[in-house]
């Protein structure tokens, strides 16, 4: 993400220190993570100490300080999905992407994360990719679904 774009986002919020979290969220959703240069720029323009931004950026799970993939894959390991075979789906995901939960692949294509119940247990096992729910996953269906995301 280039600094000009960071500046644009800061401008949109009138460089107000009270909009700090909103600015971070905007950058996170556009860029999938918060690069150090962006945080430094925000610190400079909002006149907020870098330590404070760092504290906030590491406090909320919504923010990432390490690069994330283009596609956020969440697999539900909640009770209902678990008994319906979530482990096999997770194994498939790990095989196909080559990463474990919490990791991102080198091509920055996928980031994998486990969650506990997405609130639609009847569809289990469930995975969520970029906010879209895919239900009744089996290893084969998981492979087919993953193929749709480039």
């Amino acid at each position: 993400m280039d600094i000009a774009r960071v500046d644009q986002i800061i401008d949109k919020h009138n460089s107000e220190a009270s909009s700090l979290i909103q600015i971070l969220l905007d950058i996170q959703s556009e860029n999938h993570w918060l690069p150090k240069e962006a945080l430094e720029r925000i610190s400079e323009r909002l006149q907020v100490p870098y330590t404070r931004i760092q504290h906030i950026a590491t406090f909320y799970k919504a923010f990432s300080l390490v690069p994330k993939g283009r596609h956020q894959v969440h697999i539900c390991m909640g009770t209902a999905c678990h008994v319906r075979g979530a482990q096999r789906v997770l194994d498939t995901l790990q095989d196909l992407t080559g990463i474990k939960p919490g990791e991102t692949d080198l091509d920055l294509k996928y980031s994998l994360e486990t969650v506990n119940c997405l609130g639609c247990c009847a569809l289990g096992p469930v995975i969520e990719i970029d906010g879209k729910i895919h239900g009744e996953m089996s290893p084969t269906r998981t492979a087919d679904t993953l193929k749709k995301y480039e």
Binding site: P49, Y50, T51, Q54, T58, F59, L65, V66
Partner: protein, 203 residues
């Protein structure tokens, strides 16, 4: 400023409006233990070791003396069975993080805290925030701050600022109630590592 009369440990104590119980007690020469309090810094209320019993209008409550403002006719007890029990518990929890801390030893003896009560998870930092707040409020350098949250919270120096400012200051080191070396260690780590935040995140 209005004078306020209150009672601390049975003694009549005079205080000014806006003072905290801790300040009033200190003025009267009454000792209340503190860990996260520092006279140059804003009250923070992180450690709760200064907990006292405060009674007003017939109600007794447990409050943090370093935060609670004095009020008329307040009756404060700085030691009681309840207070001692709480302080002992707090110390035992802190000891799980900083088992050999020299700064805590006097209190540990006073309250008979058992350092083996809880499973150890030595992080050496008890999150009092003294180093972080001192750097921000007194030195205005913001070289050290907290990162992460809950059990994973820890201090972290910003390498760019630390490499410029800290060598000639180091005033935060002796403030640490557990071990001055903790800040020194994290500081060195920040200087050595070229990617401190990235490294930390991936650990």
């Amino acid at each position: 400023m209005n004078e306020i009369l209150l009672k601390i440990d049975g003694r009549e104590v005079e205080a000014k409006e806006g003072m905290t119980i801790l300040e009033a007690a200190q003025n009267a020469g009454i000792y209340i233990p503190t860990l996260c309090h520092h006279e140059k810094l804003e009250p923070y209320g992180a450690c709760r070791i200064c907990t006292v019993e405060a009674e007003s209008r017939g109600q007794t409550r447990l409050v943090a003396a370093c935060l609670y403002p004095v009020e008329k006719n307040l009756v404060v007890r700085t030691r009681s069975e309840k207070v001692d029990k709480i302080r002992k518990m707090i110390l035992e929890l802190l000891l799980a993080h900083a088992p050999d801390s020299r700064g805590l030893q006097d209190l540990v003896e006073e309250y008979g805290a058992d350092k083996d009560r809880f499973e150890k998870e030595a992080s050496f930092c008890v999150h009092c925030g003294l180093c972080v707040r001192y750097c921000a409020e007194v030195k205005k350098k913001f070289a050290v701050g907290f990162v992460n949250r809950g059990a994973r919270r820890e201090i972290s120096f910003v390498p760019e600022i630390a490499s410029k400012e800290c060598w000639n200051c180091k005033e935060c080191f002796p403030l640490c109630p557990t071990e001055a070396l903790q800040a020194a260690y994290v500081y060195t780590e920040a200087l050595i590592s070229s990617l401190p935040r990235l490294g930390r995140q991936m650990l």
